[in-house]
């Protein structure tokens, strides 16, 4: 029986969205079950935490695009009821009820609100959701609604229906992806922090949501009394909350530092203190925020105990213990940085589909998988399977594609071909201006007929018309017909939001046979109708904007999207864990891979791994080596590269001579090195060793009657110091595991640490404490000193405390292989980050959590070069595997394409060769490496497939040799003149 091809995604966390995107891109139909009434009613991780006060998720999420082309079916008010069958042949049953106002079909004309007779406070019974910033989401207050039906009657698009029946659907699907959203701690969970008892305690996410329309400003923290607080305490609650209530996501420390710095920006005089147990930011640039907060004058209090007591109407007292001494701070506003609860959906879902929970109540993932649950063919992504950072959440979406393709049948979705476009080259411009009346509603606010008449007399305009709309299937068709009939060859549509409806407008003009480059969309609604009051002035402004449109289309020129072949092959550099996982992910899904390894064996630094992990790597090696899709070159290095994303030509030097490899994508899995300590008397005494050396010696030590008497461990050796301003992620866990083993042999173990970043291994930290491992904190750069007095080894802290030790273990970090990375960076034209690792989509400013770059649905974002594993940044075993599977997934979405589509179709940059001087400034400013200088002609050349059409090259080019197809040099000046001349 053929396998099913449809994918069911339950929940709308970012991982689920990313998975939907990846599967659609690959050609699979997706059913997206949203439990909420509208997009993002169920808050996903990023929205629930909102560490940033600005958010672009809606703009980057795929549902709109893929829904428009018919690839995604999204169901609202949905609930998964039953799952039966097995991987590749699931039968699912779900309940769904359509939105009362279909958000996708709604033209947002507001007539329903106007006719609604029920007033509720300052709104009507039908109203626009006040908290969703951008989209107009119409909600009906079901309690107050009288069901009079006036709104339904007047709705011109049929988007509004008061009677929506619940439907139960049964579907055959190939795989199921569980992506339930974030469970935020509620007031009761944060009781001990005084939340809800006093206005002086607020959640960070509440502040962020309060600032939705403004970003973080003084008003965001103003107390109900109207007073702007002058003292702030920022508390990371999972560090102090009772166990089992909430779990820490690894960006909480950074969120705290970020909030503190922002506070200092808007209130420079305010006193800001962060209360936390350990600073646990270990993503890219996370540690820099620690320093930034310190530089901004933020006080950091690291404490194990914290008590908050509201002090009447005045403030909140925060009691803490620091270095064994108690202290109290009174703050006018305490900001809680909260964690995540284990998912409430875990229990019903394990009942429905058999997935199991881990010991914290999150969905359990099978060993060595990135997102597959214990049930074959059922995957869990994002915050459902544990607290994590936003990058991981999103990576899991693509990793799911890598892991799930084997269960799916052939792709079952083909995008319809675009309508044929007429050739208008050389024709004299005949501009048609089509003014949208939004089903007659605009007329009430502005005299459209007068606008039309004024427009009619403008130079170049040969046709003007008022249309009903062009955003619903019927009106799109209708308008396209009218355009065709009018015989114009340039079109200005005076409509509404192109940000949301761009595809609909392009569809309209393309259905009329027009090249979209010969059309302009003027925002009559956003720029005039909804935001202004004075009718005369509105008319003048509308005219000015339409004239700009006319001016621009008159000077526009048609162009068709370039296409290029795409080499369906992947080159993986580095045969360690990450390289093997990536190669396996791509090869086992049917594409050929060349794997290049510098050494004579695959597997990389296998000596660092635990036995089960080693076994996994061995099995992976034999799997990869026996796969006929993979060619492995050992003792080989990348020697040269030419070409560009999608069509690289690499030369690999192997012991048998140079081999040329044509490849579409390159995966950088070159790994990193262990830091070799200088100082701490390392190498001067055999009793001073690294954690790795201890690990090797451990079986022997544990076999002995008793372990060493006293063991001292020093954390952060080669991490978070001046030369390596980042956390190496793995050393704390490693130290804790070794410490526990030694302690169980009765050794006295002391860990000298700065912050225990044992994120995700909280239980280890607790266990070590319970067993009596001593923890001694050192401040920032005051590392303890290792001394030798006679035969005794001593560890001396900055304040002079001495501790004798038989064994000193240095927890050394991970450092990039700078020389190698720099070589590859040069060969591939791919940048390194400030620490010497490869730059990546997760290395965004202000920090790794900045989701905009991460969520950008754009496989070319890294020019088809994907750094994975330790080449990307320091990370542990599972995290390495995840990055590799994400890269494989992203590669898989495009490897199948025969022709390479430019991401922005015909909207690309180009160069007028006759004007170009080859100065190269455009090459320098291009953020996409989409340009180079042709050495023979000495002119700039654009790779349209990499170009994201931003126009940086246009602005930097002093003589406008550079242009965008829709931003030509002859357009802006004339357009500005008419804008100001009207």
């Amino acid at each position: 029986m053929a396998k099913e091809s449809t994918v069911l995604i339950y929940g709308t966390n970012l991982g689920g969205y990313r998975a939907a995107y990846a599967f659609c891109k690959k050609g699979y139909k997706v059913i997206l079950l949203n439990r909420g009434r509208y997009v993002d009613e169920m808050k996903n991780q990023a929205l629930a935490q909102l560490p940033l006060d600005f958010c672009w998720i809606c703009g980057h999420m795929p549902q709109r695009l893929f829904k428009a082309i018919g690839c995604v079916t999204d169901c609202y008010n949905a609930e998964l009821l039953e799952v039966s069958g097995e991987a590749g042949h699931f039968k699912v049953k779900y309940r769904t009820k359509a939105q009362l106002v279909n958000n996708f079909a709604c033209a947002e004309c507001d007539q329903c609100i106007e006719v609604c007779p029920v007033r509720v406070g300052d709104r009507k019974a039908i109203f626009v959701h006040p908290e969703a910033a951008w989209e107009n989401i119409y909600l009906i207050d079901w309690e107050q609604c009288t069901r009079c039906g006036k709104c339904e009657e007047i709705c011109p698009t049929g988007a509004l229906k008061l009677e929506r029946s619940e439907e139960v659907q049964e579907m055959d699907v190939g795989v199921i992806i569980l992506a339930p959203e974030f469970d935020e701690p509620i007031e009761a969970d944060l009781e001990e922090f005084g939340l809800g008892k006093t206005p002086h305690v607020m959640k960070n996410s509440t502040i962020a949501r309060k600032s939705l329309l403004t970003n973080f400003v003084r008003d965001s923290v103003t107390l109900p009394s109207g007073k702007v607080p002058q003292s702030f305490g920022i508390v990371i609650t999972p560090h102090f909350n009772k166990s089992g209530i909430e779990y820490e996501n690894y960006n909480l420390s950074v969120s705290a530092a970020h909030r503190a710095v922002k506070l200092k920006e808007i209130l420079p005089e305010a006193q800001v203190t962060i209360f936390l147990r350990d600073y646990r930011g270990f993503g890219k640039k996370h540690y820099l925020w620690y320093k930034k907060a310190q530089d901004a004058g933020v006080q950091l209090v690291k404490t194990h105990k914290l008590k908050m007591t509201p002090q009447g109407e005045e403030n909140v007292a925060i009691e803490y213990e620091e270095n064994g001494r108690g202290g109290t701070q009174r703050v006018e506003l305490a900001i809680l940085i909260t964690g995540q609860k284990s998912p409430a959906l875990m229990e019903p879902l394990s009942r429905i589909c058999g997935v199991k929970a881990d010991d914290r109540g999150f969905c359990q993932i099978r060993p060595f998988s990135s997102c597959e649950t214990d049930v074959d063919g059922i995957f869990a992504v994002g915050e459902f399977s544990g607290p994590k950072g936003n990058p991981e959440t999103i990576w899991e979406g693509c990793a799911a594609l890598t892991e799930a393709l084997k269960y799916l049948g052939e792709p079952n979705f083909q995008r319809a071909a675009p309508p044929p476009l007429k050739d208008m080259a050389g024709e004299r411009p005949r501009v048609g201006v089509f003014i949208c009346s939004c089903f007659g509603t605009f007329n009430k606010r502005m005299d459209l007929e007068v606008l039309r008449e004024t427009t009619e007399g403008l130079p170049g305009v040969s046709h003007t018309e008022i249309i009903r709309a062009c955003c619903t299937p019927a009106t799109i068709k209708e308008t396209a017909e009218r355009i065709k009939k009018s015989g114009v060859n340039r079109v200005v549509l005076a409509v509404c939001t192109p940000l949301q409806k761009l595809l609909k407008y392009r569809k309209t003009v393309m259905m009329a046979g027009l090249n979209p480059l010969l059309t302009e969309y003027v925002r009559l609604r956003e720029d005039v109708i909804y935001v202004h009051k004075d009718r005369d002035k509105m008319l003048t402004k509308a005219l000015a904007l339409i004239r700009v449109g006319i001016e621009r289309v008159r000077r526009g020129a048609q162009a068709s999207p370039p296409t290029d072949a795409f080499t369906p092959h992947a080159l993986v550099i580095g045969g360690g864990l990450s390289g093997l996982v990536a190669a396996d992910g791509i090869a086992s899904n049917g594409f050929t891979v060349t794997l290049v390894e510098q050494k004579d064996t695959l597997g990389g630094h296998i000596e660092y791994l635990w036995p089960a992990q080693k076994d996994y790597v061995w099995s992976l090696i034999s799997k990869v080596e026996s796969n006929s899709n993979v060619i492995v070159y050992k003792n080989a290095v990348l020697k040269e590269t030419a070409g560009y994303a999608g069509n690289f030509k690499a030369t690999v030097s192997t012991p048998d001579g140079d081999v040329s490899v044509d490849t579409g994508v390159v995966i950088l899995a070159t790994g990193a090195r262990e830091y070799r300590p200088d100082g701490f008397l390392y190498g001067k005494d055999p009793r001073i060793i690294t954690q790795l050396e201890l690990k090797e010696r451990l079986p022997q030590l544990l076999k002995a009657e008793r372990g060493p008497r006293a063991v001292a461990m020093v954390q952060c050796v080669g991490s978070k110091d001046a030369r390596h301003p980042y956390c190496s992620r793995i050393c704390c866990d490693q130290a804790l595991e070794n410490a526990i083993k030694l302690r169980q042999k009765n050794s006295d173990v002391t860990i000298f640490y700065r912050d225990m970043t044992s994120y995700g291994q909280e239980n280890l930290y607790k266990k070590a404490g319970k067993l009596g491992v001593k923890f001694v904190r050192f401040e920032d750069h005051h590392y303890p000193e290792v001394r030798k007095s006679g035969k005794t080894l001593e560890v001396v802290t900055a304040n002079g405390n001495k501790q004798e030790a038989d064994l000193v273990v240095l927890s050394t970090g991970i450092v990039p292989d700078i020389a190698n990375n720099e070589d590859l960076s040069f060969l591939l034209g791919y940048p390194l980050d400030a620490d010497g690792f490869f730059d990546s989509d997760a290395n965004a400013y202000p920090y790794e959590e900045a989701i905009k770059r991460l969520t950008k649905p754009y496989e070319w974002a890294t020019n088809c070069i994907y750094p994975v594993g330790l080449a990307h940044s320091p990370r542990g075993f599972d995290a390495c595997i995840l990055t590799a599977r994400d890269a494989a997934g992203r590669a898989l979405t495009i490897l199948g394409k025969k022709r390479m589509p430019p991401p922005n179709a015909m909207y690309v940059a180009d160069v007028k060769e006759s004007l170009c001087m080859g100065c190269g400034v455009c090459v320098d400013v291009c953020a996409y490496s989409a340009r180079h200088i042709d050495p023979s002609k000495k002119v700039a050349v654009v790779h349209p497939f990499l170009c994201d059409s931003c126009g940086s090259c246009v602005a930097i080019c002093p003589n406008d040799a550079s242009y965008l197809t829709d931003f030509k040099s002859n357009q802006p000046i004339g357009a500005l003149d008419v804008l100001l001349g009207t």
Binding site: F54, L213, E526, Y530, V531, A844, P846, C950, S952, L976
Partner: protein
């Protein structure tokens, strides 16, 4: 006498700036009619010449809004725009042509209030400054 109504060109990037402006519209937030919107792909694609042209050909002031630092849809465009605005301001300042008539303020996608506040604040600011002398000169 009729109150002076400044003519303002508000350059918005296609992403955050436009988004902020559309959020303002979604919430029906009002701003003065004399603020004219000009959209560009990215603030990084806005050339200094366009700002200068606006000031010479009729604008009393120019505002530029794009994504917040680090949040540029095109990664680095807003940083480059900031440098370019610094260049324009430096020219205007040295020649006393009204550097205070050019504002640069980040407006993100959901920040409709911030957008209309900027428009209103700039409008009031220009009312105090009075008409831009350059725009009335025929010998430019």
């Amino acid at each position: 006498m009729k109150e002076f109504e400044p003519k303002i060109v508000y350059f918005l990037c296609d992403w955050c700036g436009t988004g902020g402006c559309e959020t303002a519209s979604a919430h029906h937030l009002y701003y003065p009619e004399n603020v004219l919107i000009s959209r560009v792909h990215c603030t990084g694609s806005l050339s200094a010449v366009h700002i200068l042209r606006s000031l010479i050909e009729g604008a009393d002031g120019v505002v530029i809004s794009g994504c917040h630092p680090g949040d540029c849809h095109f990664e680095t465009g807003n940083y480059r725009a900031r440098r370019r605005v610094a260049v324009v301001k430096s020219i205007l300042e040295t020649l006393e042509l009204g550097p205070e008539r050019v504002w640069f303020r980040y407006v993100a996608h959901g920040e409709g209030r911030r957008f209309v506040d900027t428009a209103a604040e700039f409008n009031d600011h220009l009312k105090k400054l009075g008409p831009n002398p350059l725009k009335l000169r025929r010998d430019t």
